[in-house]
Each structure stands twice: as C-alpha cells, then as structure tokens.
Symmetry: D2
Subunit: 398 residues, 4 copies
C-alpha cells in the first residue's frame, strides 16, 4: 500500500478484515506500507499490521513478491504510481479521485486498458458503491422496480469548513488535492448516482466556488487537524459546487457538494425518482434504504425504511444477524473482497479506471461550465473500454 | 352544547366545519351553549358561533327545538346531564371519559340502551378513533393484513407535569377529574388499542401513582394555566400509570399514561405486532401510519411511512389534495359527521356508551390491580348491548 | 371572493375560522361568492357559507357594502380583477402567483402602490409563510441564530404527474395556468426561501422542461381529476424546473420544482445553512422545524425536531395545547387574520404585490436562463415600494 | 477464547481490531480457540485468526502462556469455566448472561471477588454499554443533564420468532439457553437501563410467557438456521417478557423483551425521562442519541438527533472523522480495549461479575413475579463487592 494517511487506516482495515468474514479465493497478505517519512511509516505499518515499511515506492513495486498495489496517496501522485505499478504487472487498486486532471486520468485509463490485455486488473476506490444499501439500490433499479428514471438528486454535504477559522490543510490546496468539495466529495455523488442508475452524465451546468477564501495556516502540516497560527493563506480549491446534469436516457439531475452545510457531517444523500417508484439513501444512516413502490395500492404507498441487514442483502450474509449494523470501514472490506475475487477470477472489477476517468471528465465539465457562466457543457466521452462489462452486479452482490 | 371549557372550542369547530366539507344528510345548527357563568358563556357563545347561551342545562334539554346534546363538562357531571338528556329524548354525544366512576358509567350505558329502543342515539367522544391514520390502521387489521395480533404497545405521553412547579388545576383534583393521567389520557390509549385491534382487554396488572404529590395552588381557578401563588395543596389524582394487559384472543399488551415524559407533548403512540405485519402510530405525526408488511420479499421489508392523505383514505376525500395535512380538530369534524349520519340513518354510532363503560371498567381494574400490589385483575365485563353492531366500520370509513 | 375552485374552499375556511380563534379588530363577513356558472357558484356559496353568489365580478366590486376582494381564480384573470378592485377602493387579497406574466404583475404592483396612497391594502397569498414553523424559521434567522447565511436548498416536490396517464387539466395548459411546476409550486419555494432568509434572489441559472409532453384529454373539464378519454393533447407548461440562485448578500441556492418526484406528495422542503446553525423544514411535517445550533458544545450538537406547537410559537396561542397539530388550512386562517389586522391598523401587509412581482421576475429569469442554455441570468429588479416595511414580523408573529 | 459460535466471531473481531485503533498498554495475542469439535474449531481458528485450536478448555486454562480467558459458550457452561479460569489466575471476560441461574452467577461473583484480591480481573460482556451513544447517554445523565430521573422505558424487540415455523434452536431450549427472550435480550435492556441511569432495579412485576409453544425440530443441530423437518417439539423458554420495575431512588420503569415484534430486528430502545430533559436511544440507529433539553427556551426545545461520531464522544477519536458511522462489532473492540486497560492498570472493570449477578437476580425476580400472578417482587440484593468502584466512567469514556 502506498500512502500512510487517513485512507490508509481504512484500506488496511479492509484488507485485514475481509478474509475473516468472506471466504476468499486468495488470501491477501499485508506486505509493505510505503510512506514518505521512514519513522512515521514504520509506526503506521506496526499499528495497521503491515509486515514491512518503506519510503521507496518504486523499489516496492519492483518486488516479485508483490502482486497488488493499493494507492492511497493524495491525487497528485496517483498517475505516476499507478501507471508504474500497472507496467510492472501489479494489480492496482487506486483511491478516488482517480487523478487530479483529466489528462492524468486518461493516461491511467489507457495504462489500465493495456495492462488488462496481459491479465492485470485495476479498480478505483469509489467505496460507497459497496455500502450494501447502495448496492441494493442499484439492484432494485436494475430490476426495473423504479421504472423509467426521471430525476436524480445527489448531494454530499459536510460542514467542517463552516467555521471560517478551520485551518488550511492539504485538502484545501490545489497542488495537492487537485480539487476541493467538487473533486473530493462531489466525485462520490456523481459516481454513486451513475452506479445506482446505470446511466452516465452527458451534460452539466453549474457553479464551483470558494466561500471562505482565506484560512489560518497550520504551524506544521498535520493532516485534518492542528493548532492554527496567526498566518493566513489562500484556499486554492473550491469549497462548494452546485450543478445540474443530464443523464443519457434523458433524466435530469441536481448535484451539490458542500462543506458549509452546517450539521451535515457526512451526508451523501441520493434520491432517485422513477415512473414506478423512488429511492432515497443517506450515508448518515448507511444501513437503511428508503424505497417507495408506486405500484402498491394507493392507500398503502409510503417510503419504507428497509434495514439493509438481511442475509439476502448484498454482502450482508458475511456479517451479523439481521438488524446488526455495519459501519464506514465495512465498505473497504467489501472492496477488498471484490478486488480479490476479480483477480482470482480473471475478471475486470468495477469501478474501472475508465469509470474513474469518466468521473474526472464530469468534474472537468462542471468546472468548464462554471467558468462559462453556467452554460450547459458536454461531458467529454471516451469510448468505454470494450472488455469491461457494463454491469459488475455479479461481483458486487454476492 | 353543555360546557364551555377547552373541549368546547374543539367541539364547536367540529360542528361548524363538518357541514362545509362533508355532504351531510342533516344540517347541524349550533343553537345554545350552556355554561356556569352567564357572562363568560355568552362571550364563548359569540366567539364559537352558538346562537344563544344559557346557564341552565335542564331548561335547555327540555326545549323542543333541541335535538342533540353535546356534553363537554368535566367528568363528574356527565352522568346526570347525559341521563337527563337521553330521558328527554335527545341524542347525546358525551366527551370522554364517559364518567368518573364505573357506577355512573353503567347507569349511563343503561340509559343509552333504554333510549336506543325509542330511536335515541348516543356516543362517547373518543375522537382519536377518527384520526384517519387510526381509522385506516383499524381497517388494515380488520382486513387481516397483520395476521394474528400478538402484541400491543400503547402509550399516551405528555410532559406538562415534568415541572414540579406546574400549578394545581382541576385536572389534578379527584373530585372534578375523577382520575388523572390514567383516566384522562390512559383512557385514550385503551380505547384506540381496542378500536384498532377489534379486541377487548380482559385482564390487567399495573401501577398507578402520583410522582409529584403537592403543587402550587392557583390564585383563582383558570383552567390549564395561571400564575401560581405560594400556597401548595395535594395532587389527588395519579400522574402516571403503567400496566400490562391481556386482550381477548390472548394478545399481550403494555400501556403507559404519563405526564412526566419530558419532550413528549401529545404522544399517543401505538405499536401493534401481528404474525404478518406491524403498525405504528404516533399522534405527534397524526397524518402518518407506519406499516410493516412481513409478507413482502425479505429484502424489501421495512416500515413504510404512509401519508394518510389520499382521497381513498378514511375521511380524506372531503379535505385537501394528497399530501395536504389535517390537524387536531379535524377529528371533531369527523365525529360530528359520523354522529349526524348515524342519527339520520337511525344507526347506533360507535364508540357507544357501552364502549365508554368498558373503558371505565378497564381503568377500574387497573386501579384495583395497583391497590393489590400489581396482581393480574379481571376487567368487569358487562354484556355488550345487543343492538350495537360489533363494527362501525361502514360509518367511520366513508 | 372571486373564484370557486379548489383554492376557494381553503380561503373560505380561512375567513370562516379566523374570527373564531383570533381576537380580530374587525369581523369579516362572507358576503358574495363569484363564479362563472350560476348554479355551481350558488351551490359552492351554500357549501362554503357565503351569503350570496354572483357570476358578475364587476358588479360585485362596485358594491358599497364590499370592503375586501379575495381573488382565487386562475392566474390569467388576476390582473384584470385585482386592478379593477383596487381602483374601486377595495382591499385585495390575491392568490399566488400574482399573475401569469411579469408585465401583468408589474401593472398590479403599480396599481397596489397607487391604491396604497389612498389607504387601500393589498396582499398576495403565499400562505406557507404563515405555517408557524416557517414563520418561526424566519424569526430564528432574523435573530441571528444561523449567523451568516451561506447556502439554501429549497424544493417543492410532488408526484401527481408521475403517471404518464394522468389527465390534462387546466394547470397543464399555458393559457390558463401561465406556468407549470415552476410557476405553481416553484413560486412557493422561491417565496419561502426569501421570506425565511430575508434576502432576495439576484441571479439564477437553470432549466425548465416538460417531461411528459402529451396527456389524455378529459371528457369534460372537471378540475384536478376526471376520467380520461382516448384523445391526447400537448402539455403546454413545464412540469419540472431546476435552478441555481444567488441571493443578495452572496448566498448560493439550489431550487427544484417537480411533479415527478414519486412518493413526495407536497414536499416543500427548505434547508438553510449558516455559519452558526442550520434549519430544515418539510411541509409534509408542517408542525416541525429542524434546528441545528452549531454554537452548542460539540458533543451535544444535533438537528432538533422542534414541535412548533407551543403557545410562544407564532400564531399558536390561538389554537390548541402544545403537541396538538394544525393542518393545511390553518395557514389560510393566519392569512385572514393578518390581512384583517393590517386593514384595521392601516398597515401594509406582506407579502405585498411588489413581493409577488418580484417572484414573477425570478420565474421569468429562470425561464430566460433556460432558454439561453442555462447561463446565469439577472433577476429584473423593481425598486421596492417605499411604504412597504422591509419586515412584516410584527404582524406575522403575533 | 472458549466457544466457537456466533459470539466467537464478534469477540475475535474485537481482539483483532482493538489494538489497530486504540493505543493499548498491552497487546492482546489471539492464542487458542477452544471448541467442542476438533475440525470445526480448527477451521474457525483459522478463519478468525487464532494461533491454535483445542477441544480441551481445562488444558488451555492451565497453560502458563495464557493470561486472559474469554468465554463465549452458551450460558450453561459459564460458571464452571469461569470459576476454573479465575482459580487458575486468569483474567476472565465472560459473555452475558453471566450464568443460567442466580446460584451459578453468585458462585461466579464470589469467585471473582476472591480472585480480585490476588489481582485477577473479571468482566461480563454487556457490550452495548460500549456503544458510544449509550456511553454518552450515561455521561449526560451522570452530569445531571436530565435532572431527577422519573421514568425509564427499555425494550429489546426482535421478530425472528414471528414466523411460527421458525425452527427450534438451542436458544429455545431451556437446558442450553437457560432463558429465552427475557434472559437473552431482556438482560441487555436491564443492564443498559441501569448503566445509563446509574440506578439499580429493586422491585419488578411482570409476565413471562411462550407465545408459540411448539416449533419444527431441525434435522441436525446447526445454530440459528437450518432446514426444518416435520417433527415438532416444545419451546421450553419464554419468547416474550413484559415487566414493570422500580429503581432505587424511586423512578418507575417499563421493560419489554420480545421476539414477536414484527419489523423490529434488533431494537434495543431506551427512553429516559427526567425533570430537566430526556434521552432516547435505539440500537437500530446505533450512532445516534436523541436528547431533549427542557432547560432550553420553550420555543427551541426539541429532541435533537446527536450523531455520536465526534472525536469528543466516547471511544470515537480512535475511529473515523465525524459523521462516519461504526457498526455492531465496534462495541467488542471497545470491550477489548477497556478490558486490556483495566488489566494493565490493575483496575477492576465494569460490568463486573457482581453486576452480572445482579442482572440475573432481576431476571429471577421477574420470573418469580410472573409465577405469582404478576405481584410486585423484590430483587434479591447482594452487597456490591467493596472493591469495585461505583462508576467505571474513567475507563469507558476515554
């Protein structure tokens, strides 16, 4: 695993726990953790259970005993590492966003397509697809339970920037993070809406901006928190993005990514309305799916709160009895399971690097629309790689 | 209408509004309001829209131009007035609780039975049966959608006594109110549970007590509010009651009536669990019914929040389009409508005085159980009057 | 009252009930109902309690014994009637939208300004401002409890067009209705967002469209329902509108009006996020306001579900004890009360015709943006009439 | 760890994960898993990550390299194993219920008291205390935020026996399980209510019964599921229990344990009402606590939904950023952490074996009350062991 920050803890938990609950065809070994600071990386490796640590990712991906490279660094280094790893014949799981630019993402998708021809697998880490309620939402839609999809509302709301004195972290600096609310959390909203509906955005129109443009500089870089000094510097990424979208097939959508929605901590909320029914999901109640079946008798229609914890629900037979909840990191176990199974089965997992490129193209179109006074802007469309199946359902729902 | 307190406003609104929305076979005229103080009663009659006022209820019920007597006085005067009115050949609607004692209630039920033989109708005002969501709950159960009923939880929770300095009102004085939380709000919980399930309680076991036993005396009697003086006096009714119950048919139940459940303002909540499904109702969300259908596929089961505002729902075609809510006093319009229709159709409306007697018998059994250290105690059972149909569904759901 | 359709029932209930619960300085008399069909109008007048009926509105507004004209016709006739009534010296309450075009609305606002100088009052019927939870939301924001407002989400979601076979009614015909989802329900979302925040939209960017473009024609015009024949005709208004907005002061907003959000019956939902707190309101739970106070200790922050039923809440002391809910039509009683009080106090009530004009200008800007491929478009700004106070708080909250 | 069933998976996850997220003073090693069937136990040990497996628990607790014994067998074997382990000087964590009888539980508590004098620690696994929202509820009450506690409602509702054809498992057989709904889930309701309030039940009155008295026998014993044959046998434990309770200090309580509450999967729900506020918790929304602060201004009171995911909340700084949820098994990590810390600090952890004995005494009193026709029955009170502190707050909330 390359990267020793917050996402490293989550991915480590995924690799650690997946083989304890799922009957995997291959057993992942947590070999080497790669970071930038030798001491810190060694400490993190000990804490998280990696056998070795290193500060030289190139050396690690050259090793014969490494089969899989999991990339959890900030987005600016994804392309270089992922392409090198793919070229070295390693299966690659890369945290989202796939890259900080469309150009990088395209090179990665191309590298993934090349590698695929030699049996090398790649996947981008839009983990929320693997929240069972989200996967089950996709299943209901794929089964036609909502009929024709007419409207989608997808929003990812947080509030940790509501306080104008919240400090400047790397996530607020363009050179590291690439994008702000749009790229970091808006990307999730886009991906999950496309995943659930099985549709892709073709046009968007919106606005991206920075509400609080200067923040206190941390005395030393220390991740998401830290004591702020008197010095201030510019926030160089957006902190809010609002946009409308059009899906192939015609459905209209409305998106929002914001870190100023006071009281919303991690509210990835999706509402999908079809001719025959509706769904609503909120990541702050991750074990629930609201489903409205408009084919029921008029007197009995209502949003039903499905606890997505039955053994028949996606992924859930591996865990606890019905009604016992799972949490944030379980998605990473599901991701690890699906990735391992894909590798074992010589199957290309989803979301693919091409999917990640597409999300990047949507983000780019939103930014271009914002720059063009909000005019509707086409999403650049790369032909989907031929060998990735349109539906990864078999893999996600087992 | 006899009585000019809080319930008078609600009943007046019922009589005033019902003919504006429902196509009634007879048109109620709001003739005389009877109170105890001439000036206040005249003022209330003006405010509420009664043509005349009086302080002599005996004179009023003797009038030939009066067909219906609506009794909204405190419980200690119900028996005398209702029996006199029935004997005078007036149709009687009597606010709950039917009476302050079982003996009074029995005399009233007997008077109602006698009057019935001469075409005189009577009804007791358990209005919450006529909240459309409650009526619809009854319909679902009557239709077998819950299967065999196994368990019932019914509670009526308020908090206006949480403050130990809340003043002593007539509702806290046994000679006026007869009972406290048990008789005033517990009676509703009992009635609605029996109404929804179509079953009667046969045995109970519980405790009735007074948590705050002394309260400030109001400088002058002024209803529910007022400035409290330094003087204190004993609260002579219960302020909390908890009891278990057994329905005919065997289902177990648990009841609670409390005015100390801080934050619950008017929470008449009922959960009914059957072999095939469940229902949950909360009067604080009166336009909703939660319904769980256990015959749905396992992955799709969930409590569905039905907005009981469709024209197909009980009473609702008279009001607004779907999704437009109704409030507390609408139940009084439904009551007025059902009562008028019953009179016009020479039909005996429910809940009957016999129903009101039965609730009183349950309350009495709870009190006896409490006095007997909580032992299970049989509910005295009067034979149901032969000419009241077991099911008033035709009248309530139109 | 001019107009005998659905809104007539609601306004009639407002006039009927307001004086029974509020202590009004003047007593409204329900004199004449004016419709188009003599027989139907007479019948409606009887049902709703108007003393007379007429089919000649010009004659009625000429009568000396008429002081107030309440206009509840479709929007295409608002301007003509309202201007004539104002010129005749009648106080005018006009249902929203103020008019079908900006030009008409401006003429009405000008007429209102002229009339004002002679002591004639006018108001537009954005009744949802007078849902106590909405008024209380405004109060909290005006008191600074949310701090600087950063973001607003306002949506009005219905689903009665989800069924592609729902028939063509006058609300779907441009010549009668003027606008569809945008003008009918989007107008409410705009008004309530502006009311709560005390800010006006200055720019918008969006899309307005018709999802189902042909529908069955009703055999005869019969309002909202009816049996559909085989014939089909074009829907000539929009049925969905999505737009972004910018408030004066800078806050970003996102709006949606839709009749395809399956399962949402009457969901006027607003979320307002500020630096110090947030609010959320949903008309499907009209007695509740969700309030998040970000100044509380971190461990104790949470959206609190305030039951807006305390006597200290706006309008509520007139109704029932805490925890007893009110419904849709109560807003019309509040509107009647506020209008009567304004007339009696020689005060100009809000929302004024100028407010109604402004909403129309926002709608117009949204349409122009939609026509211009979604580009940000300025809202035409008329100078606010000088004699309408910026804040009607004193009148709404009593 | 002794026991290889369902709870073994949960405890294993606790031991495995705790040291990865918490900075523990001692590092647990997962040494030996003990089961009854050699092959199955070996397989479970591999899956769960135990270094060795064994079928001889006596041999294992005799080993010098074993410091801690974790007992997750059915209740009938707890006493024998736990006492032997304590006498062998091993720290013991014993799954709840502590034992199947009061007599066994008392012997265990005595053994724990003896062992304590030689520095040996013991704890019973009422894990739900360690759900952060539950711990935080305790903290709020301990801080006086609810004022004097007046009422408690605690219920643990499931529905897996709603289906009368659900098969007979060991949990329905008295000789293995000791008790049914009362002992298995009612015990949790009792413990969490006492934990949150800091009070102990002194008297109870209730009913314990078996709603479905015969069920299909499984072809072979296979845990919680299996294909049912034609044969039927008696259910020998209760499947529902309802009781009232009195806490020391006087608060009244109402309890329910049921496996027939259709639609409730794992609903451990607690509502606690005090003079100054209220709390509500539901294990089906485990990351939330509803808190009502009655000291707020009347207009601003409301149940607030606190997401108990802030770093300042108990246990949560170890996990993810605010708004990222945790699941069922996290409680086992918290339990492992607290136990390890107690051992390292020579501190006696809670809940102690004495606490477990007390719960058993409450269960016993409920059963005796049920046998005595529901009469109020005193809870046998053992003097609390002197050296267990009354409050384990320091340990649970860090």
């Amino acid at each position: 695993m390359i990267g020793a920050g917050f996402m490293g803890a989550a991915h480590s938990q995924g690799w650690r726990v997946a083989p304890r609950f799922f009957d995997l065809p291959l057993t992942p070994r947590m070999s080497v953790l790669v970071g930038r600071d030798a001491e810190r990386t060694r400490s993190a490796a000990d804490t998280w259970g990696w056998a070795e640590s290193s500060i030289d990712w190139r050396e690690v991906i050259a090793r014969d005993d490494i089969d899989v490279v999991d990339i959890v660094t900030p987005g600016d280094s994804h392309a270089e590492i992922a392409i090198a790893a793919l070229e070295a014949g390693k299966h690659v799981l890369c945290e989202k966003p796939l890259a900080n630019t469309v150009a990088e993402a395209r090179r990665m998708a191309e590298a993934a397509a090349s590698a695929r021809s030699t049996g090398v697998r790649s996947m981008v880490g839009f983990t929320y697809r693997r929240v069972p309620a989200a996967t089950f939402a996709r299943d209901l839609i794929a089964d036609g339970r909502l009929g024709e999809i007419r409207q989608v509302r997808a929003e990812y709301l947080q509030d940790w920037l509501s306080d104008a004195e919240a400090p400047l972290t790397w996530r607020l600096q363009k050179e590291r993070a690439g994008s702000g609310a749009l790229g970091d959390i808006g990307a999730h909203a886009i991906d999950i809406a496309e995943f659930m509906t099985g549709r892709r955005l073709t046009r968007v129109a919106g606005v991206v901006e920075t509400i609080v443009s200067e923040r206190p500089v941390l005395a030393e870089r220390s991740g998401l928190s830290g004591s702020a000094g008197a010095e201030r510097a510019a926030v160089t990424v957006d902190d809010v993005a609002l946009f409308l979208g059009r899906f192939d097939g015609g459905a209209l959508a409305s998106f929002e990514a914001s870190r100023f929605r006071t009281g919303r901590k991690n509210a990835l909320r999706v509402e999908i309305s079809g001719a025959l029914g509706s769904l609503a999901f909120d990541l702050e109640s991750p074990n629930e799916l609201q489903f409205y079946d408009a084919t029921a008798p008029a007197t009995e229609q209502g949003f039903r709160r499905i606890l997505v914890t039955e053994p028949e629900h996606p992924y859930m037979s591996a865990w606890w009895p019905a009604g016992h909840m799972i949490g944030y990191e379980h998605g990473f176990s599901h991701q690890a399971k699906d990735f391992v199974e894909a590798v074992a089965a010589s199957h290309d997992p989803r979301p693919s690097f091409a999917d990640g490129l597409h999300v990047q193209q949507v983000l780019d179109a939103v930014t271009r629309s914002s720059d063009a006074d909000g005019v509707w802007t086409g999403v650049e469309a790369d032909p989907a790689p031929a060998d990735v199946p349109a539906d990864d359902r078999a893999f996600a729902a087992s």
